[in-house]
Amino acid sequence: MSSSGYRRRSREGPVRNRTLWFWVFVGPFAAGLALFTYVPLLWSLYLSFFDAHNTVSPTHFVGLGNYTSMLSDGAFTSSLWTFAVFSLFIVPATYVLSLALALMVNRLRFAQSFFRSVFFLPAACSYVVASMIWKLSVFNGVRFGLANTVLGWFGADQTAWLSTTHPPWYWLVIVTLRLWLQAGFYMVLFLAGLQRIAPQLYEAAAVDGARPGWQVFRHITFPQLRATSVAVVLLLVINAFQAFDEFYNLLSDSRGYPPYARPPLVYLYYTALGQGQNLGLGSAGAVILALIIAVVTIVQARWFGLGRRED
């Protein structure tokens, strides 16, 4: 064997092996992703141009008919607006609460792990289970519900939290549930961000006479958390638009879903997978929703400068 031949094999062999092992480990997951994500996505796009009642292999092409129907459907557009408003509220509320929790836990000199776990624990709770606890125990509408019992001590009448639209008490139930479930998770993200900030920055600020507290937070901590903040806000917005579990479990019953607090995904679920099974219309709605989320995400990323090199 020539020495050059040996060198060539020794260079190519490992490369070939690396490729082989790359596909051995990545292949099954890539195949799964293609089969269970990309194929259904493309199929859904295909269905959205057909009249597909109770079938996934339709023959009647309707062009953009499903899109125009969906966009002129008051229930769908109202669900989009409702949830735009919901996002405008829940995103900042969760952001502020999780950042506040992270700042508090970060300052602790003892039992930090304990409090981090305590605040994070609800994130491990199932949305369905939490919804049932909120619906059947905390905020049920009869006199022995937890909230009504407490209010009853002060002489208040029983309130039907999930059935009252004026004022819309159902938002209180939904928002408190969502805050309880997700604030801990985002707190952990912020904690990670806080622990990446170099201590020298705080030392320099102290030398320059910066007052601890608000001034240091405003000029050092908050700017240094920009990357984390952008990620958190993006995740929160996408989560808000993808809301399904807690809404469905709090507000649906055997006969359907009320016309208020109906997120787009719940509406599409009933359209495509309810007894009507209008899969074409549902797919068109899903494509519209995906485009809206993509546009909002891109605009937001540009606005916040996602991926921009840190100064």
């Binding site: 509408g141 009869v142 059935s163 009252t164 019953d253 006969r255 997978l273 309810g274 007894q275 009507g276």
Partner: protein
């Protein structure tokens, strides 16, 4: 060939990975393995989860008694209608299944099998009101299992204490509910949504209208519809309605626990109510409204249908016929031994001792005299539009005329769509 340690590990790793993938792609469909004692092909039969104790064991017993096929029962909790609708798109769904329908789209979409020939000689013995929505294009697509109806349960002692009579008109119902309401007890429970879901077309039929006319148009394009539906907002505004109860309208808990003096609930709840309250209750149809009005109660039936994608359609049809047409003893047992339903066969309903006296006899009479069944042409899209409108009328005080007009438009559009299609 020498096998290096590295090659051995790589080979065994690959084999392990292949094995894991093979296991992941195996044939475990999550189906139960409760099997009938029969031979022949294996049939998958689906039921929704009944709340009544003993029903599940009963259907497993029926299946086990069938000898011409092996019948596997799936007792499915959760959102059954959605589950079956999705399963019918695949060939791995049920062979024979109960369905709250079949719906017109399922029939037109070719998802269910024509069962007309199973009814030879017995068609007239089925309750015609519930058979009508199972019939399309002159063919029958499902065998009604039992007839269910809903009624207004009222607590006699509470009405007596408040010095009011059982309501016979919708206006009386509104006034009575208000009179019965105090700090601890609400006057009326129509479900946690205020009635929009469960009542459906019942108030329209009580006003002398219908959901769909004989000639296939919206049957509530009439000022009477708005007038009747507006009265539900009065109930809501008076704070007479129980809302947000832990158990919804289909469960009599709120009524027997004294949270409400009147409740709209199913006939199936009658044994539980009788057990809890003895004779301190009565049942009424939904009260009439207006000059053309008449009392109304909805009647409906889950039916047994056969999937068109079943590989054993002939055997599945034979089993459906055996269970729901030939074996009348099982049908009576299923209807009356666990829950409380009216047998779908008229001859069985007539001879059932449990239906001959008291509130049960009243309920059967209301179902016979005042029953209406949801028309087959009333599609889920119509239902969603109507339910949303009724929700807004009840809770938001939305203008009933405007809301009804919008639903009429939507309904007529849907009716045109489904009547254009050929079965």
């Amino acid at each position: 060939m020498t096998i290096s340690r590295r090659r051995l590990l790589a080979t065994s790793g690959s084999l392990a990975l292949t094995g894991a993938l093979a296991a992941a792609c195996g044939s475990n469909t999550g189906r139960g393995d409760d099997t009938s004692g029969g031979g022949g092909p294996t049939l998958q039969q689906w039921y929704h989860q009944y709340g009544e104790a003993g029903t599940e064991q009963a259907v497993r017993r029926y299946a086990a008694a069938y000898r011409k096929a092996t019948v596997k029962i799936q007792w499915r909790p959760g959102n059954y209608d959605q589950q079956t609708a999705a399963a019918l798109l695949t060939s791995s769904g049920p062979d024979v299944f109960e369905v709250n329908g079949p719906t017109l789209d399922q029939i037109q979409g070719g998802q269910v099998t024509d069962l007309t020939d199973l009814f030879d000689g017995v068609k007239d013995d089925f309750n015609q009101a519930v058979l009508a929505p199972k019939t399309y294009g002159g063919k029958i697509w499902g065998v009604p299992q039992t007839v269910d109806t809903q009624l207004l349960y009222y607590r006699k002692s509470l009405l007596k204490d408040a010095n009011v009579q059982p309501p016979r008109t919708l206006d009386e119902l509104v006034d009575t509910a208000k009179a019965l309401t105090d700090k601890k007890v609400k006057g009326l429970f129509l479900g946690n949504d205020g009635g929009a879901g469960v009542l459906g077309g019942t108030p329209l039929y009580a006003a002398g209208l219908s959901l769909v006319t004989e000639d296939g148009k919206a049957g509530f394009d009439d000022p009477a519809a708005a007038r009747t539906l507006a009265k539900f907002h009065r109930l809501y505004a008076d704070k007479s309605l129980l809302l947000g109860a832990p158990a919804d309208w289909s469960d009599p808990s709120a009524f027997v626990q004294g949270l409400t003096a009147m409740q709209w609930c199913g006939l199936w709840a009658l044994p539980a109510v009788k057990k809890a309250l003895g004779d301190d209750f009565g049942v009424l149809p939904f009260p009439e409204d207006g000059a053309a009005g008449k009392p109304s109660v909805p009647v409906g039936a889950y039916s047994s249908a056969v999937s068109a994608r079943s590989k054993h359609r002939v055997e599945a049809k034979a089993f459906a016929k055996w269970l729901w047409i030939d074996r009348t003893a099982y049908q009576e047992d299923f209807a009356l031994s666990y829950g409380f339903h009216i047998p779908a066969r008229i001859s069985l309903a007539k001879k059932a001792a449990k239906l001959r006296e008291g509130a049960a006899a009243d309920a059967v009479r209301y179902a016979t005299d005042s029953g209406w069944a949801q028309p087959l042409l009333w599609t889920p899209a119509c239902q969603v539009a109507y339910q949303d409108a009724l929700n807004r009328i009840i809770k938001d005080g939305a203008n009933p005329e405007t809301e009804v007009k919008a639903v009429v438009r939507k309904t007529n559009g849907e009716l045109q769509r489904v009547q254009k299609k050929k079965s």
